[in-house]
């Protein structure tokens, strides 16, 4: 059976973020609460955007924050935050962000496996729209079932 990188406790709906930094910190919080990454790793996700810009908004309405593994990624998994209100990250083409998928990633095959599944899934803009409009965590898990 293929391994899943997302579980129910890593999904949040109606995330009340008022800006991009809150969107990352709140969406990533379950990763910290569940021992998947350290708080410092989440700080690094934020720092990455401060230093390198909002390029993590990979496609319309979707941000994929990640940090450097050595900053405290303990396991390879994703958390998902569906924002209550869309937030501007400053990305010219893909703002505003509605869905935040935070990656905790250790280098290696497992990470590449996870990225590959995400890349295949997010190819379809409808999936991101469906995530944004999901009414409960079950729907989010169903949409991400191959992740």
């Amino acid at each position: 059976m293929e391994q899943s990188f997302i579980t129910r406790e890593l999904v949040q709906l109606h995330v009340p973020a008022k800006n991009w930094e809150e969107a990352i910190r709140l969406s990533a919080d379950p990763l910290v609460q569940n021992g998947i990454c350290l708080r410092e790793y989440v700080d690094d996700m934020v720092l990455n955007v401060k230093e390198n810009g909002p390029y993590i908004v990979l496609t319309d309405h979707l941000a994929l924050p990640h940090g450097r593994a050595e900053k405290g990624a303990l396991q390879t998994a994703i958390s998902v935050g569906i924002l209550e209100t869309p937030v501007e990250f400053g990305n010219k083409t893909n703002d505003p962000v509605k869905v935040v998928i935070c990656m905790s990633a250790q280098a290696g095959d497992k990470y590449m496996d996870m990225l590959g599944r995400l890349a295949a899934l997010l190819e379809d803009p409808q999936v991101i729209e469906d995530l944004a409009n999901a009414e409960d965590a079950d729907k989010v898990l169903e949409l991400l079932q191959h992740c």
């Binding site: 990455n48 230093e51 390198n52 810009g53 909002p54 390029y55 993590i56 990979l58 496609t59 319309d60 979707l62 994929l64 990640h66 940090g67 450097r68 593994a69 990305n91 010219k92 083409t93 893909n94 990656m103 990633a105 590449m112 990225l115 590959g116 995400l118 890349a119 997010l122 190819e123 803009p125």
Partner: protein, 96 residues
């Protein structure tokens, strides 16, 4: 002839790997004569290939410093990737 492309973003962690996966998928589905390697801003300095594929916000910094730069707006969008890779191939073939 196979063209050599480096796929990179500033940090060289997640986004550029994502971009490389997408580029490889489009290259293989369309049998394009391009081979990709993964890199970051540091390894880019020594890159001797034909093409750099990156996010569009980094594209401006690299214009003129590299033989050819493609900036991608929507990393998950295969059509955009295909259009820009196809344009690269048309451009270089004209230049020969």
């Amino acid at each position: 002839m196979r063209y050599k492309a480096m796929v990179c973003c500033k940090a060289g962690m997640g986004s550029s790997m994502f971009l490389k996966l997408k580029a490889d998928q489009v290259i293989s589905e369309n049998s394009l004569p391009i081979k990709t390697v993964h890199g970051n801003m540091d390894t880019l300095i020594d890159f001797d290939g034909d093409l750099v594929i990156t996010m569009s916000d980094l594209c401006e910094d690299l214009q003129g410093k590299m033989p050819y730069v493609i900036g991608i707006d929507r990393v998950a969008d295969k059509n955009e990737m295909k259009e820009k890779l196809t344009k690269f191939l048309a451009d270089v073939q004209y230049a020969v």
